[in-house]
């Protein structure tokens, strides 16, 4: 069970015990969620670099690296073979940042543990411990028997460097909650972080970007540029898009504006005039609206239709002619009502104090939500025209931006 640090630089002997070069790197398969099998050894032979398939290797240990054939019988592989599906352990992994998917964090690879898995020499784990650091600088003896190395299972990690296909990255990170993925991105450098973002589909990328710290969000968005952001912007909720545009300079904002679809663009333009810490600044236009004359069954159909494009649905909003607000119904109320019932008949009396005006400050928004136990509140203009809703998570994020 050798460590990579004890393998690199070792002399490589052929079957006649003749030294044919030094081990410069180990090339492994880059399939994710599996222990990566060793595929090639990269040798430095004089000034030349050669790639030897692992099938020739007889022994790969900290004591000896040797081949099972004499060197002239070894069929080396052209150097440029190592493309898309391989990783160089020394170049791409060792000393680089890597995502610990299980722990939802970013770590530096101090060392790598190799071993036999399913009869194949593979990378089993990543050493991120202090012992790993000391081993690399030849001071491991300082620790004696204390502090065992802390290994992270290779299957639960994701490299962000090297020539990886982006969709393999996304597949592996799928298990992470958007908020955790956002934390991971915050800990990576901007280049690696944006690589992660674009590896995701637009919808997940939008969710993750919304969770990223606002300053870094701005930096990432600018780094990705209007074209790459177009798809993601169309999936982000309106209030987040508005916040983002608030933080950009006018000129920059215009560049991103031009990527939005017409209907969205109109809403964003309307919303952008509200101050950040008011109901107008917090609200989103992502909600389900139904007509007063509809039946319950039709309203439920509408929820099903809209659901894929919405983050949460807790209430449906009943809106009359010219977007006039009529009332709200909880999803639960809809579900337990008779499907043939007319929506208008189900609406209870709504006190005017339980709805918001766009200019109300966030403190009043909180008061209303607490007082009436609401998770979302409707925002109306002076003509009782429905503008949008404020959801509790947007209020929370405004209050605790760092979480």
């Amino acid at each position: 069970m050798p460590y990579l640090s004890k393998l690199l630089g070792q002399p490589v002997l052929d079957s006649a015990d003749v030294k044919i070069g030094r081990l410069q790197d180990i090339i492994v398969s880059s399939e994710t969620s599996k222990y990566a099998s060793v595929e090639f050894l990269l040798l430095k032979r004089g000034k030349e670099r050669i790639l030897i398939p692992y099938s020739y290797v007889e022994n790969l240990s900290s004591k000896e690296v040797s081949l099972s054939a004499p060197y002239d019988k070894v069929q080396t592989v052209p150097l440029d073979t190592a493309i898309e599906n391989y990783l160089s352990l020394g170049k791409d992994i060792l000393d680089e940042q890597i995502v610990d998917v299980e722990g939802a964090r970013v770590v530096r690879v101090n060392d790598l543990r190799l071993g036999i898995f399913n009869e194949q020499m593979s990378v089993l784990g990543i050493d991120v411990s202090v012992r790993g650091i000391l081993r690399r600088i030849k001071l491991e003896w300082l620790l004696g028997g204390f502090f065992q190395p802390a290994l992270i299972d290779w299957r639960h990690t994701q490299s962000v460097r090297g020539l990886l296909k982006l969709d393999t990255i996304a597949k592996n990170l799928d298990r992470l909650h958007p908020a955790d993925l956002a934390n991971v991105i915050e800990d990576l450098n901007v280049k690696a972080g944006s690589r992660l973002v674009v590896s995701l589909d637009a919808k997940s990328a939008a969710k993750v970007l919304e969770e990223v710290d606002p300053h870094l969000q701005k930096v990432l968005v600018k780094y990705l540029g209007p074209e790459k952001m177009a798809g993601i912007l169309s999936q982000m909720s309106i209030d987040e898009v508005v916040d983002l545009f608030h933080s950009l300079s006018k000129q920059e904002a215009e560049q991103f504006f031009s990527q939005l679809k017409n209907s969205r663009l109109k809403t964003v333009r309307k919303f952008i005039n509200y101050e950040d810490d008011t109901a107008g600044g917090l609200m989103t236009s992502d909600y389900v609206s139904v007509r007063p004359g509809w039946t319950v069954a039709r309203a439920i159909e509408e929820v099903k239709k809209m659901s894929p494009s919405l983050r949460t649905v807790l209430y449906v909003y009943v809106v009359g002619e010219k977007d006039k607000f009529v009332g709200a119904l909880s999803l639960r109320w809809l579900l337990i009502s008779d499907p043939t019932e007319i929506v208008n008949n189900l609406i209870k009396y709504i006190p005017s104090t339980s709805i918001l005006r766009p200019e109300q400050p966030v403190e009043e928004v909180m008061n209303v939500m607490t007082k009436y136990d609401l998770y979302t509140v409707a925002v109306l203009d002076s003509d009782r025209k429905m503008l949008g809703i404020v959801t509790i998570d947007d209020v929370m994020r405004h209050l605790v931006p760092k979480a």
Partner: protein, 414 residues
Amino acid sequence: MIERLRRFWPRILFFLAVIGPGIISANADNDAGGITTYSVVGAHFGTSMLWVLFLITFSLAVTQEMGVRIGIVTREGLAGIIRSRFGLPWTAFAMLLMLIANLGTITAEYAGVAASFGILGVSKYTSVIFCAVAVWFILYKGSFKTTQKIFLIFSVFYLVYIINGFAIGPDFGMALKDMVHPTLQFNTPYLLTLVALIGTTITPWGQFFIQSYVVDKGLEIKHYKVEKAEVYFGAFLTNVVSFFIIISTASTLYKAGIHIESASDAALALAPLVGGFAEFLFAFGLFVASMLGAFILPVATAYAICEAFGWEAGFDTNWNNGRFFYSIILLSIIVPAALVLLPGISLVKVMVLSQDVNGILLPFILIFVMKIVNTKEIMGEYVNKRLGNIIAWATIVGIIAATIVLVLSSFVRL
């Protein structure tokens, strides 16, 4: 009134947020070690060392610009790049050097705190312990960024030296001549001061600091030209201040033959402008400069080391995840403060010698920077140009040569 202040405050902060990394980094260079070293340079050697200051203004501009460029191109901190590029053993070496240099500088900051309160008659045991605890609490509980900005505002204090410099009516002709006319003395005090002068102007931590500042700010290639100009301006500005500190002490203390043994000696240089108020003003300036460094440096050190070793960093991490981060910060508050509290230690010597440590270690950090900035794989078309390489290597060779001569001189007594 308070309401108005509260509305005005964000605007001040915004304005400061726009001031770029070049000026901030350069300004933070004029810390306790800086003020004291420049004062000593002028007081003990007159204007004779101004040629060094003149030359290292270019060195400072060039090295800081390289930091900015690496930051803009790689979008990564210096420590992270060193780790990726040179592997763990070299990274450990670089981090050890940086840690030693930074601990030295922080020690100078606490010496500055002790010295400034000493002028007011407060014992160092009170002032240093109080300030060390305050630094920790503000870092841990308060806002690092706001505090940093407050102290930056106060560093307008340096302007006093410029005005003072004119008030004295010094011999500018002589000063300008010394600026372009190199002279050398081969004795230990001279060489010690010379290396300190370089080490306080161009610092290892400044190299790490400016690069992470650029990265955090999210500056891009399109900002590069403006940023470059700003860095050059910052280097020029900070050394104009240094120039005036030196000629202030040169035309007062040096003329009167006073050696700086304590901070109140150094304060005398301000007497021509403010008279009896000089001691108080100097104490205030020294305190502010010290505290700015005492805040920034532990955090900068911890961020760099954590970046290099992949440990979680930031004040939003909890104690368990961020134990290395918090430990490094605590270490770099407690050890320097404790050193200053050693009985009988000369505060002025601490402030100058710590800059020597910086100066001696600086070339090694600069060599890492040079290697990186000349690697096409990392920098692409933004690798160093010839002139930049010449100036930077001249700086590196110059400091190493000065260090060797310094070491020899202390043995041979030339």
